[in-house]
């Protein structure tokens, strides 16, 4: 047996590094890294600025198997420049999705029946503040390339997102995470566009007190995102919990996976606009105001309960579409 893999499964996901996460999200001994540290491809832009580059440019990309599906895995490393997306990092992400599509085309070209062929999935573990400022322009462009690749993958290759790292997912990567098919978060994970510190700095402490950790987590944390259905699942902060959920989702038919999307069609835009309406004219001041509107009465209990109790008892945004209240 693969001892390293077994050891990692019981570790907190949030404490693992990007490579451990990529390795352990796949079936034992199935992960092969592409353009790994061995090739020493580093950012040439950082040394002149006095920054030490890293051999993977802060993102691990590779091929593996998740449950029964061949998978392309992307895992961001927040300990390197906050997981910021630079030129190489961004291009690695874009290529990962394009190569997943190519893998799927190869499978489809084979004569086997579609059942025995399997279907390629993309798994992305986000742990990033968005654009890496040292390479800001290239990082920005990479975001647009990733979004385009996502659209190209629609209906062909499912994209499963994970937010469970210590930085979470902010900046431009926030809307990339919103554009996946299925999003899995933990209590540790946070998802947003503008980070709390930036809101405080630009608008003021009265708008957002970034030092108030409870406020930060109930505004952008996994529980709130689960209530608004931006996150499809909330899991415990263990490697095993994430891996099992990813493997389960990857085994679904592609239509079921696509039904979990929150944006990406005209109908979903209209649906989201109804959620936006609830917040207009300063009607809500806090995420918990929204929780109450969805029928959650004992909010303190929900907040303090463990993940499975929370998942079982939380009343989520009704979303208004048939079949989405499961």
């Amino acid at each position: 047996m693969d001892d390293r893999w077994n050891l990692l499964q019981n570790q907190p996901f949030s404490r693992l590094n990007a490579r451990e996460r990529a390795y352990a999200i796949c079936n034992p001994e199935s992960f092969t890294e592409l353009l790994g540290p061995r090739l020493k491809l580093t950012s040439p832009h950082l040394p002149p600025m006095g920054q030490t580059p890293q051999f993977d440019d802060g993102v691990v990309v590779g091929l593996g198997t998740v449950g029964k599906a061949p998978a392309v895995v992307v895992s961001q490393e927040s300990k390197f420049l906050g997981g910021g997306v630079g030129e190489a990092h961004g291009t690695k992400m874009v290529m990962a999705i394009r190569l997943a599509l190519r893998g799927q085309e190869i499978l489809e070209s084979r004569s086997k029946s579609s059942e025995s062929r399997g279907r390629v999935a993309v798994v992305i573990s986000f742990d990033t503040g968005g654009v890496r400022l040292q390479e800001a322009n290239a990082g920005l462009l990479a975001h647009s390339e990733v979004m385009d690749a996502f659209q190209a993958a629609r209906g062909k290759v499912p994209i499963i997102g994970i937010v469970g790292g210590t930085v979470g997912c902010f900046g431009g990567m926030g809307f990339v995470a919103a554009s996946v098919d299925v999003l899995i978060m933990s209590d540790v994970g946070r998802l947003g566009l503008t980070g709390p510190g930036v809101i405080e700095e630009v608008v003021g402490t009265e708008e957002f007190d970034a030092a108030n950790r409870a406020l930060v987590w109930r505004t952008t944390g996994g529980r709130h995102r689960f209530i608004t259905r931006d996150a499809d699942f909330i899991v415990e902060d263990t490697m095993k919990a994430f891996r099992e959920k990813v493997a389960e989702v990857a085994s679904w038919p592609i239509e079921k996976i696509a039904s979990k999307r929150i944006i990406g069609t005209g109908e979903m835009v209209l649906e989201q606009m109804r959620l936006v309406d609830l917040a207009a004219n300063d009607r809500i001041q806090d995420s918990w105001d929204l929780w109450r509107q969805f029928g959650n009465e004992d909010i303190e209990y929900l907040w303090d309960s463990n993940v499975s109790e929370f998942e079982a008892n939380a009343r989520r945004w009704p979303r208004g579409r048939v079949g989405d209240n499961d």
Binding site: T32, L34, L35, L39, L41, P44, M49, L63, T65, G67, A88, G90, T91, V94, M95, A96, G103, I106, L107, R110, S116, R117, G118, L133, E135, A136, N137, A138, G139, L140, L141, S144, M147, D148, F150, Q151, A152, R154, G171, G172, F175, V176, S179, L191, G192, L193, T194, I199, V203, T219, R225, T228, D230, G264, G266, M268, V269, Q272, V276, A280
Partner: protein, 299 residues
Amino acid sequence: MINFVGRGRDAIDYIVDEGSFEENLCGGETLDPEWAESAVVGSATLSGETVTVIANDAGIANPRFRMVYAGLMGLEEGFKMAHAVYLTIKADKDKPLAEKRPIILVVDTPGMSPGKVEEIIGIYKSTGAYQLASAEARRAGHPIVAMVVGRAISGGFLCHGLQADRILALSDEFGTMVHVMPLVGIARVTKINIMLLEELSEGNPVFASGVSHFYNLGGVDEIIESVADMRPRVKAQIDEIRRLKAAGEYDKVGPWSRLMSGIKRGGRKTSEKVIELMEEEFNLALSSWLGGEDDGFTP
């Protein structure tokens, strides 16, 4: 010299047939004129052909969301723009490729609204929805041309501009600004000396502000030197996009084509290496990943 910064709505008439813009008319539907008014959407003609126009008016605030002002785009604005794109796709659903109406983006935005309510609801969905809508329209055959007339900044540019087939930008003399963050901001956040950053930015387009840096990276397809050139160049780009799409060359328009231009222009050498090496490594790992031709994929 004329300057369109903060005047996205005024710029529309310089790009489409003068006086042809009908606000809030989108693919045959009429939108509520009081809804997110700074997100200016509607229909116009260009050389007589119907086009969808999406612009941003920095002079109008949103009374329902106080963080939407001075051109900042909020929750409603992004969703309204996305809605306009989906109405456009729907209106031409049954038309042949050559008749899919163009979408013209008039770009002047300083970015997305930074606010607490925006985060609670999830403004990333609004920006994301608009990008996915644009990517879908582009892939469905609609020619999309972005004309940067003022500020094209960070997340604002990503959702309103960077999903276009082609991006044109007025040159720097028109006050055009293209960046993620000005150098002083980058220096402050990264704690890198501003003098060093200024010096490095002269030889490297990867982080500094400006239309020409984005041109070298491929992020701007064409720099426009005069206001009078906007209309004919937008039209010429639409024709070129149609020609490429008719030939099925979808990788020669949109974000991927700009990455390729950046490589050609020498601004994205690292990306070029990444693409080459990942292709190589993928091909080497392919048979152990998917199994051989005969045995199929067996987990």
